[in-house]
């Protein structure tokens, strides 16, 4: 509101104009198609990152040899800019869902990986020794000791992963797709439609908040109560 007094409306439009643009977006015929296209990419990137990141992190946490091989790969994936991944993904898969999902995964897999490695390393060795002394089968140890311990870290990682995926997928889909919030935002910018640009930014931020506080935080809170309750003196 303050900035709109100093900048022309073409750059920072008044709040009420942004509000009516937002209303127009939500009421438009294509809103749900765009919403589902973006959510589809974000959710699948998230699920794939979770499975791959946790799986590789578990292997690396248990076996040092895997950690030696995977650690540099993950550092590389983490340090490469998303746009570099985007170019490679377009070359490999062409336009469509795949490039933006791949860019999302390249950003989130290392987060899940490093969190899982640290989760495995911080598992209570006393519990593992107890399981060993009672000759508990490894599959039961995996599901009763490893998985709950890892899950808590994975949910913590989910929070940062989801926000990263949310940001990079919207950036990537702007260049690789016709449907979704990214292309709409980019299109509004190209047509110098500042109200629509800010309305989409507001919408993206709001949806990010809903995912974070409506899904990740409640799950994380529930798991924290159940897995961090202590029980050993």
């Amino acid at each position: 509101m303050v900035l709109s007094r100093f900048y022309p409306p073409a750059i920072i439009p008044p709040v009420e104009r942004i509000g009516s643009a937002l209303q127009g977006i939500v009421q438009s015929d294509v809103f749900f198609a765009d919403l589902f296209a973006t959510l589809f990419r974000v959710i699948w990137s998230f699920i794939a990152s979770l499975v791959i990141g946790v799986g590789l992190g578990l292997a690396a946490g248990v076996r040092k040899a895997f950690l030696g091989v995977l650690h540099p790969v993950m550092v590389l994936a983490e340090s490469a800019p998303p746009v570099a991944w985007l170019v490679v993904a377009i070359l490999l898969f062409g336009m469509g869902h795949a490039p933006s999902m791949l860019v999302g995964m390249s950003a989130a897999i290392p987060i899940f990986f490093f969190n899982t490695v640290s989760a495995v390393k911080s598992l209570d060795r006393n519990l593992l020794e107890m399981a060993g002394s009672y000759q508990v089968p490894w599959i039961r140890v995996f599901f009763s000791v490893y998985m709950p311990g890892i899950l808590l870290h994975a949910v913590s990682a989910s929070s940062s992963s989801l926000s990263v995926i949310w940001r990079v997928v919207i950036m990537a889909e702007a260049f690789t797709s016709a449907r979704g919030f990214g292309p709409q935002l980019w299109g509004a910018y190209l047509y110098s439609d500042a109200e629509v640009v800010y309305a989409y930014i507001a919408l993206i931020v709001m949806l990010g908040f809903i995912l974070e506080f409506g899904l990740i935080k409640p799950v994380s809170g529930w798991l924290d109560v159940r897995t961090g309750g202590g029980g050993n003196e």
Binding site: N126, S133, Y134, R226, G229, G231, E233
Partner: protein, 244 residues
């Protein structure tokens, strides 16, 4: 040093034959001879850090001896180790903690339920460890060991950290349980009062590296209450054997 009062292998559940254990260049145990007979509660006592837990871990198979051998009456003798801490899985209920060891089969569930009944905690099956008191958690750990159905119980200072009244309560509880279930137990403690009340035989270990210094055979538990001063006398002898 050989152990006094060792019986034939047919009655003996397991025996440590001239066991030694070193950590790097540092020998902790040497020429350790020790036997456990069926239905017997044997105490291991010695000064802190003398190697009691190390010996118990060797018996449990959690560590391997550097020299000597452990021989068991049956090749696959099941041993339940009761640690100093309860080591309950905090995100599992009491019943789930027991099923973790027994498995969820019908037989496993029966064993778990019976074990909870034995430690008077059947009403707490659905509770989580953080909802129980310290003494109750120790009893759950004991129930877990019972549910495992071992031939040999290895208890490593199971009352460590409990206050005096709770400790006395646990001693009474264990004595009743030992008698009812005819358990074969190796009980490690540095508290002589616990040992004189719970054990049939007490091995005093000490020295650097540690060896068996003395073995005290106690009078039957039923008679102890009628022998005034007996427990005090045994405690004093134990302390004398442990030396300075």
């Amino acid at each position: 040093m050989s152990e006094q009062g060792v019986v034939a292998m047919s009655e003996c559940l397991f025996r440590c034959n001239d066991i030694g254990k070193s950590f790097g260049e540092h020998p902790v145990l040497e020429h350790m001879n020790f036997a456990l007979n069926a239905g017997e509660v044997v105490g291991l006592v010695g000064p802190s850090g003398c190697g009691k837990t190390t010996l118990l871990r060797l018996m449990a198979g959690l560590d391997a001896p550097s020299s000597g051998e452990l021989s068991y009456r049956s090749a696959n003798a099941r041993r339940a180790y009761i640690f100093q801490e309860s080591r309950l899985i905090p995100w599992l209920t009491v019943m789930q903690n027991l099923l973790f060891v027994t498995g969820k089969s019908a037989e496993g569930q029966v064993l778990a339920r019976e074990a909870l009944l034995a430690v008077d905690l059947a009403a707490y099956a659905g509770h989580y460890p953080d909802q129980l008191s310290g003494g109750m958690r120790r009893r759950v750990a004991l129930a877990r060991a019972l549910a495992y159905g071992p031939e040999i119980f290895l208890m490593d200072e199971p009352f460590a950290g409990l206050d005096f009244p709770l400790r006395m309560q646990m001693i009474e509880f264990l004595n009743a349980l030992f008698a009812r279930k005819s358990m074969s137990v190796v009980f490690v403690s540095h508290d002589t009062r616990e040992l004189v009340q719970l054990c049939d035989r007490v091995c005093i270990i000490g020295g650097t590296p540690a060896t068996v210094r003395n073995v005290m055979t106690m009078m039957p538990k039923l008679g102890r209450k009628d022998a005034p001063g007996y427990l005090r006398e045994m405690e004093d002898e134990m302390l004398r054997s442990m030396g300075p």
